[in-house]
Amino acid sequence: MIAFGCVALGAVLLMLLSAMPKVRMEHCSLFAFVTLLIGLILTLASFGELFTFFPLPKFFHKMVIVDSYSVYFDAIILSGALVTSLIGTHYFQAKRHFKKEFFSLFLFSVSGMMLLVHASELLSAFIALEIASLSLYVMIGFQKVHDKRVEASFQYLVLGSLAGIFFLLGSAFVYAGLGTTILGEMGNRLDTLMGKDVSLVTIGATLILATFLFKISAFPFQNWTIDVYDGSSLPVSAFMAATFKVAIFGFILRLMLVDFDPIRDTWDTLFIVVIIATLLYGSFLAIIQKSLKRMLAASSIVHTGYLLIAFVSIGYAGESAASSIIYYLVAYFLSAMGAFGLISYIAADEHVRVTYEDFRGFAHVHPYMAAMLSVFMLSLAGIPSTIGFVGKFYIFTGAIEAGYTFLAVCGVVATFVSVYYYFKLIALMYFYPACDSDWKDVPSLKGITPLTIGLIAVAIIWGGIGNTFIAYFPGVDFLIDTARLSYMSLFIK
């Protein structure tokens, strides 16, 4: 919670600072970075311990909660934001139209996401969601040289607001049915109502779920995804794809695991349909894309499908399914961050487009970048020796454990389709002779951005094979154990 305070305070300060003419953009970028770093250090201080409490109960009155679970998500969100700012450094410097306020909005958005995972009440969750979303709307449209930026921003604004209204309506229904909007208490009251008519609550919860499905771009709310991701500047797309999704899952998992647990069976069929449609449609969209960025956007829909498989398994294989979601979020976060980050680095110069064809023979000109990009693609495709494989292993194991072998097979089929569109890039990069003229503008590997991306690539491989050989160094087991710990903290009474 102190971490949240730090980031929020930083956002306000940065907003004030950016009005001063003497403060330059580099300063703002650095300020944002330092704020996030302090936040992360504060978070990590209490990482891996089991606890739960309501901070300042008189003041907040159970509207926010601090537990191992939220701290775990804080850590992911803050690392995501940090990585975004690191990989964005080069991009923001290359594109002059980013203004100082951008970083303030960025911090606001991060604080909104953190508040969301700490939210212990539907209304504070809504406020947090809107803080995060509103900042994102502006961040998407920030680079106004492009028409498509503005278009993307408006598309997301209009649709996102509509989805937000569902949330409010849903909360109202839930309040009508239960007489409270505080998490934990809702669950208790629902328990006492079991056996009676709870359709009001069910309708309300379904509406809230609709908002959630929209934000994570599941079928049938996926249409905005490709255009918005494509329209945003690359670091912002990365931020949305990896970090925002984490925050949304963070909140909705809490809601589903603790409060709507008694009525969760209601949605099983609905979810199965949604999952299959998401996987199918996402795969289809990903196959037909020519632009790399749009492919990554479409494939993020498929990854949402995998996450939802674990989500629906929670009912029968709670612990392993919930921790598999958390693990997969980390895995996807790393892979997507790396991919978006590297492409944004390559495409920092406006003249370089990023279609598949542009990458023909790329490996012969920039072998290291090509190797890193391959690692990210392999991880997204879930090939062994990458963290993406371990993530998929957990998700499918959880699904089979819960008795949803059929869904695991669907996931496997989607994985196998995804091999095509991820490997296509690797094939193009390696198997064609270089057409060197196109790649003159690509910057060489220098500075903090490539270093970060390289570290992500190493982390991906470590996450895939890391083990107990090297003691005291966090590997796969560490991630699973902490994920389980954070899951347990949800149920401390």
Binding site: I383, P384, V390, T397, I400, E401, V419, A427, F431, Y432
Partner: protein, 492 residues
């Protein structure tokens, strides 16, 4: 770290070092060759210290992912030992044959990675670990075909990748299902083969599905009819090294994995479906044999003839008696040596003459006597001429199938001869007869190549004349499979 871990990780480690160091293609090649010799020495050490029993030996076990009971555990028994010796012998030879062929560093690095992958697949006794190597092995193959292939290589690379990954993903689901079943039955996670075989809660329906999951993965890799459609394109676009690895090592690993994993995991189904798979194997033998006859390209022809033999090997595996099983193990070795040698020789020929149809060859024997002699030896082995190991192996398999079912045995006996006799025709047409085609570009084998092929030719004859020596260490293991795992008994 034990010997087996060294065999697995040494090539990989050397590959990483060579990748980072600024060395040229030649130094990398020499390094890779050196590694393959070291591996041969290690394999020989394993062979010498291998006790005559059916137990897993040189066993190593470390925790990997504790929360799911996933371990790194490796070991060898008689069956893996013979495959290990095969791989360890073949690879140095292959390096010598490819010596002048490939002038790129990444080629040799990929070869090293593949060597690690195949050893890992061979020794794994944990299904998660096995899957890990099984899939990881594919990536360097992907690189080798895509980077150094000819023709429509990018398409065929993607095709084989997607195809094999599809198969292995079904196996992946089966593995996970077994893991979960173990968890529900015993309350602890494990993916070790020795633990998973104890599962008793699976319904026949589930077993069939899981069995199918494994079988699809292996049938694609082997390839068994009807999962062969990647074969022709991949073999004809791959560079020599790629074809060599695919046909003489990876396909054999498919059969090996079939015996190693599906047999103990689903013994009842293995016995129940034996008739079906023998039929499928014999059908493949005939089908691919006919397909081979009509090819006008020697590489494509060898591809089909290789698939044809793999049909016979699979039929032998399912014959459920010691003759058939021993014959299959023996043919795995014999055929790997012969086909590997033939593909490498064809690679040499292609280097000199370019890619040519059969009708544009002829009269090579006169220009390249060493080449022709080696070619003949390998070819005799493939056809199964008495005195070669191919003969012993095919005889044993046919006997085994006959033992299982006389009619199928007669069918197998007839087709083995018919399906392979066209090889003589090819030999005559391409190598012996003067045809007026210009083959003046053809040169004889260089010293490297003569030395490289010698062990293969020697083994073909030695194993053919004195098979008992080579069978001694494998028989207890196979007997154990039949008695203890399949409960079908069977004597020599």
């Amino acid at each position: 770290m034990g010997v087996l871990s060294w065999i697995i990780f040494l090539p990989m480690a050397v590959a990483f070092v060579l990748l980072i160091l600024p060395v040229g293609a030649k130094a990398t090649r020499n390094g890779a060759f050196g590694v393959s010799l070291v591996i041969f020495a290690l394999a020989f050490y394993v062979h010498e210290h291998f006790a005559l029993s059916a137990q897993m030996q040189f066993y190593e076990q470390y925790d990997w992912i504790k929360s799911y009971g996933i371990t790194y555990r490796v070991g060898v028994d008689g069956f893996s030992l013979i495959v290990l010796m095969l791989i360890a012998t073949l690879l140095p030879s292959a390096y010598l044959l490819l010596w002048h062929n490939e002038r790129s560093k990444s080629y040799w690095i990929s070869m090293l990675f593949i060597q690690s992958g195949i050893s890992g697949t061979l020794f794994s006794l944990d299904l998660f670990l096995f899957y890990f190597f099984w899939e990881a092995m594919l990536l360097p193959v992907f690189m080798i075909i895509g980077l150094f292939g000819s023709g429509n290589r990018v398409f065929s690379t993607l095709k084989i990748t997607v195809y094999t990954i599809m198969g292995s993903l079904f196996m992946f689901v089966s593995i996970l299902y077994l893991g979960v079943a173990h968890y529900y039955e015993f309350g602890a996670w494990s993916f070790a083969l020795s633990d998973l075989v104890r599962i008793s809660t699976l319904t026949p329906m589930n077993q069939t599905f899981l069995f199918a999951g494994f079988m699809i993965a292996f049938a694609i890799k082997i390839p068994l009819f009807p999962f062969h459609s990647w074969l022709l394109e991949t073999y004809s676009t791959s560079p020599t090294g790629g074809v060599f690895l695919l046909s003489s090592i990876m396909a054999k690993l498919g059969v090996y994995a079939l015996v190693r994993f599906t047999m103990p995991l689903f013994p009842d189904l293995f016995v129940a479906y034996a008739r079906f798979f023998i039929g499928l194997g014999i059908f493949g033998l005939i089908y691919f044999g006919i397909a081979a006859i009509v090819q006008d390209n020697i590489k494509k022809m060898l591809a089909y003839s290789s698939a044809s033999h793999l049909g016979l090997i699979s039929a032998g595996v399912f014959s459920l008696n010691l003759q058939g099983l021993t014959g299959s193990a023996f043919l795995i070795v014999a055929h790997a040596i012969a086909t590997g040698g033939l593909f490498l020789l064809v690679g040499v020929m292609q280097r000199h003459l370019g890619i040519r149809p059969l009708s544009a060859l002829g009269g090579i024997a006169k220009r390249a006597p060493w080449f022709s002699v080696y070619f003949a030896v390998m070819l005799f082995c493939t056809v199964g001429i008495p005195g070669t190991n191919g003969f012993v192996a095919e005889l044993l398999i046919v006997l085994g199938i006959f033992h299982y079912n006389p009619y199928l045995g007669i069918l197998a006996a007839l087709t083995v001869l018919v399906a392979a006799s066209y090889m003589f025709w090819v030999f005559q047409k391409a190598i012996l007869v003067q045809s007026g085609n210009d083959v003046s570009q053809m040169r004889d084998l260089s010293f490297h190549e003569i030395v490289g092929l010698f062990p293969l030719a020697f083994l073909i004859v030695a194993m053919g004349v004195y098979p008992d020596f080579f069978l001694a260490k494998i028989t207890p293991t196979l007997q154990y499979y039949l008695d203890t795992i399949l409960h079908v008994g069977g004597k020599v």
